[in-house]
């Protein structure tokens, strides 16, 4: 309701008032203000080891051993090269020379030897769970001896949670590390941080160890960056509109059409790492019957949703993984794309015949199901379209909008829900384990999927893969099997959108899996 009011008011007011272009510039040419909207608001700390939520500024303060590109390939950042033994039991990393932390301390193999054990007992312990011990081979060479092969090691090392902090400051500051001070090797130093409000960064003039994802291999172009956190989307947009901000790091979907129409603001979209989908509760009637699940999945018109709701931004989804992951390249027969005729035939075959009002009936029972989603304008609009699409094949879905903070608790009741509209953001195939492993039934396994064959394939994918290629093959098989059981309907892959004003320029290609450190190094003042 609140967002609707905002949108209505904005629409009226923007039309009525008539904008006269960007306001006078307020920031210096060497400074820029970026705005992080709702999804990135509220990261409580820049301590990467202990954090469970980090934001864009993290990868400017700290570096990682490796970084990941949009095509999911890995590139050295603090590591210059690496190799794994054939049995996957040893990983050797060569480190870049001459790297220094913001406080002047050197970065070397001893840093890594100290760093890996710091994860013990934290929520991020799983990232290094497979590492038995760290061996310092020489000052710039470090070797991980593994408990078992972990082909996912590079992915973990490339996440923001594996940004590398400076040991002495980390130890001395304790829980204050990342809050009052954050010392890394990144292109910017943290000057000030107010939780939920803003982070001010100043340039690290000594920076000279960028990854090859950046064109600029020297210090950053801006002397000072301010990252403001603005949860209210209208306010964030108006800050950009009036020149109070130079960039919206993540554009709220509702504002895409307005920004596209605004000549004073440029919009850039990059491949997304999010997927919107409809989990189907496989443990409750009528969805215990796989034919009903299949019929429901094929009733969702992904392209119509993409066009009508998202103005064509992003892509229709036909599997459970984002398309840049190799594991999403499944056999065509496993893909789930809108096919109403197939859907209707399946309903008929299962004995659900269309009643006088179009809603299907079996044994005197109407095909009425519960369709849940969390609050938020985008979800509300999406769930209404899906409701209409399901009705077109004879299913009546009654919508429930549940507070985002409590919906997961409702899923944990396990049998209260039937269908739901949800989204996740992740760039690794292990999300299939997260959402479909039997041990996670209720939440996050909202589909309540519990299938012996899936469990077998899960075990192989999660625990038996030795190399990255083997892992890809194993996860592809696991993914295909889950697809064949119609535990969900894929809907949409949003693009990542960022909008910026006239005072800054962006590189032609945004490298990396999002707007992170590598691209930020190439962002420059407009003149």
């Amino acid at each position: 309701m609140k967002t609707m009011m905002t949108r209505s008011l904005l629409a009226l007011s923007l039309a009525g008032l008539g904008f006269t272009g960007l306001a006078a510039t307020s920031a210096q040419a060497q400074e820029a203000t970026f705005v992080m909207t709702a999804r990135l608001v509220g990261a409580p700390t820049y301590n990467p080891t202990k954090a469970t939520k980090l934001n864009t500024a993290t990868t400017l303060i700290f570096d990682r051993l490796v970084v990941q590109d949009a095509d999911q390939s890995f590139h050295g950042q603090l590591a210059s090269s690496w190799d794994a033994s054939p049995d996957g039991m040893q990983w050797t990393f060569k480190l870049k020379p001459g790297v220094k932390f913001h406080n002047g301390e050197p970065f070397n193999a001893k840093t890594i030897e100290w760093w890996v054990p710091q994860f013990k007992g934290t929520e991020n312990a799983f990232t290094v769970e497979a590492i038995e011990r760290v061996e310092v081979v020489d000052d710039l060479t470090v070797r991980f001896h593994m408990k078992h092969p972990d082909p996912n090691l590079l992915f973990n090392l490339a996440t923001s949670f594996m940004c590398i902090p400076e040991p002495k400051a980390y130890t001395a500051l304790g829980d204050k590390f990342g809050v009052t001070e954050a010392i890394g090797t990144g292109p910017y130093k943290m000057q000030q941080f107010s939780v939920g409000q803003q982070t001010v960064l100043v340039r690290n003039d000594d920076y000279a160890w960028a990854s090859d994802l950046s064109t600029n291999q020297g210090p950053a172009k801006f002397k000072k960056l301010t990252f403001r956190e603005i949860a209210e989307e209208s306010t964030a947009y108006l800050e950009l509109k009036t020149g109070g901000a130079d960039m919206l790091v993540n554009v709220p979907t509702d504002f895409l059409p307005r920004i596209q129409a605004d000549k004073a603001v440029k919009l850039v979209t990059i491949p997304g790492n999010e997927l919107v989908y409809m989990p189907i509760n496989t443990s409750v009637e009528p969805f215990t019957d796989v034919r009903l699940r299949e019929a429901t999945a094929f009733a969702v018109n992904q392209k119509e949703i993409l066009t009508s709701l998202y103005g064509g931004n992003g892509a229709a989804a036909d599997t459970f993984l984002i398309s840049s992951l190799k594991e999403s390249q499944v056999e065509p027969k496993y893909k789930i794309s809108y096919d109403p005729e197939r859907s209707k035939k399946l309903f008929d075959a299962a004995g659900w015949k269309a009643g006088p009002d179009g809603i299907r009936v079996k044994d005197g029972k109407r095909l009425e199901v519960k369709l849940w989603t969390q609050n938020g304008t985008e979800f509300k609009r999406l769930v209404e379209i899906v409701q209409a699409q399901l009705k077109a094949v004879g299913m009546q879905a009654d919508i429930s909008i549940i507070d985002a903070g409590s919906i997961n608790a409702q899923y944990r009741k396990k049998t209260e829900h039937q269908l739901a509209i949800r989204a996740y953001q992740w760039t690794n195939a292990d999300i299939v384990d997260w959402f479909f492993a039997a041990k996670r039934a209720g939440y996050p396994n909202v589909s309540m999927f519990n299938d012996p064959e899936a469990e077998r394939l899960n075990d192989i994918a999660m625990n038996k893969s030795k190399t990255w290629d083997e892992r890809v093959a194993n996860f592809t098989r696991y993914h295909e099997y889950v697809l064949s059981q119609y535990a969900f309907a894929p809907i949409y892959q949003p693009a990542q959108s960022l909008a910026y004003g006239k005072r800054i320029t962006l590189p032609q290609v945004i490298r990396g899996t999002g707007l992170y450190g590598p691209t930020m190094l190439d962002i420059a003042p407009a003149n």
Partner: protein, 310 residues
């Protein structure tokens, strides 16, 4: 007067205990928990169970309440689960922003409200009176969220007089303070006007007029002084209301403060932080009411006598 103040203060103790219980229970009875924000993709169900035990969330609610209250009375509000910082520190960092905003709003609404109320009462039933009261009615009925956006569009986007949001400079305080203040202005103006009119009809005022004292002297020195009694009560209540009302306004204007902190904490179901913020707001309301009562008692000795104080 001192005895009166002590009695009133003592009455706050059971109120505080009741409020603390309600605050604790309400947030714990709402579905959802802070662990949703701490569980990572890749962590196991066993890790979740460990976290539940680590934060004491597996204990009965009354046990959790008892532990929390025992710490609260010693001034320890605990650590925020998701934010991982002492609640007291987070509140201390944000409180000055809320107090600045609330103070500015209170000064605005009190000044403008009393002046408007006096003028409206003095020119009762005139076009001015009707226009002012109509405007006031409009101001008090607009939701603060709507009003905040209207303020931004008008004064920040169209006229570019003030920043859209934030708290980086003094002028960023103006629009949020006006947004909160307008609602209070309406209330104070209405109460002032009604009290002024009621007192102006009393015999002693008629006598003053009959004696030939100037109209404005009577209005400002005699009528207004009496009319301030109900206004004081309203002002006391407003202190707490303003801090509570700032929740929406701080959110829209992306300002730091207790309101922004509370919204973040609620979204994350960060129990200790929500409890701490709500407790501060409740204390502000209680102290505001107390201040209003004390001010009223100071102005009106009959009230002190009625309460049994000498």
């Amino acid at each position: 007067m001192l005895q009166f103040a002590i009695r009133r203060l003592a009455m706050l103790v059971p109120v505080f205990l009741a409020v603390s219980l309600v605050i604790f229970m309400i947030i714990h009875l709402v579905p959802g928990d802070p662990l949703e924000h701490l569980i990572q993709v890749g962590s196991s169900p066993e890790q979740r169970a460990q976290m539940i035990a680590r934060y004491g969330l597996d204990q009965p609610l009354l046990v959790q309440y008892g532990r929390w209250l025992a710490k609260v009375v010693t001034g320890d509000l605990g650590d925020a689960i998701v934010m991982r910082q002492p609640v007291a520190r987070l509140i201390a960092e944000n409180m000055p922003h809320s107090l600045a905003l609330g103070g500015a709003a209170l000064i605005f609404s009190t000044t403008v409200g009393i002046v408007t109320g006096v003028l409206a009462a003095s020119f009762r039933d005139s076009l001015f009176d009707r226009a002012v009261m109509g405007f006031i009615l409009l101001g008090s009925t607009l939701p603060s969220f709507w009003l905040a956006l209207l303020m931004i569009l008008m004064f920040a986007v169209q006229f570019e007089w003030f920043p859209v949001s934030g708290a980086r400079s003094w002028d960023a305080l103006v629009l949020p303070a006006l947004t909160i203040g307008i609602g209070g202005t309406a209330l104070i103006a209405r109460v002032t006007r009604a009290a002024m009119i009621e007192i102006a009809n009393r015999d002693f005022v008629r006598v003053l007029h009959a004696k030939g004292l100037p109209f404005w002297r009577i209005q400002l020195r005699h009528v207004l002084q009496q009319a301030m009694l109900p206004v004081m009560t309203i002002l006391g209540l407003r202190i707490g209301w303003i801090l509570g009302g700032a929740v929406t306004v701080e959110y829209v204007f992306a300002r730091p403060g207790l309101g922004s902190l509370l919204i973040t904490a609620l979204g994350q179901r960060d129990y200790p932080l929500v409890q701490g913020c709500l407790l501060m707001l409740a204390i502000a309301v209680m102290l505001g009411t107390l201040l209003g009562d004390l001010a009223q008692a100071a102005l009106d000795p009959r009230l002190r006598e009625a309460m049994g104080a000498r």
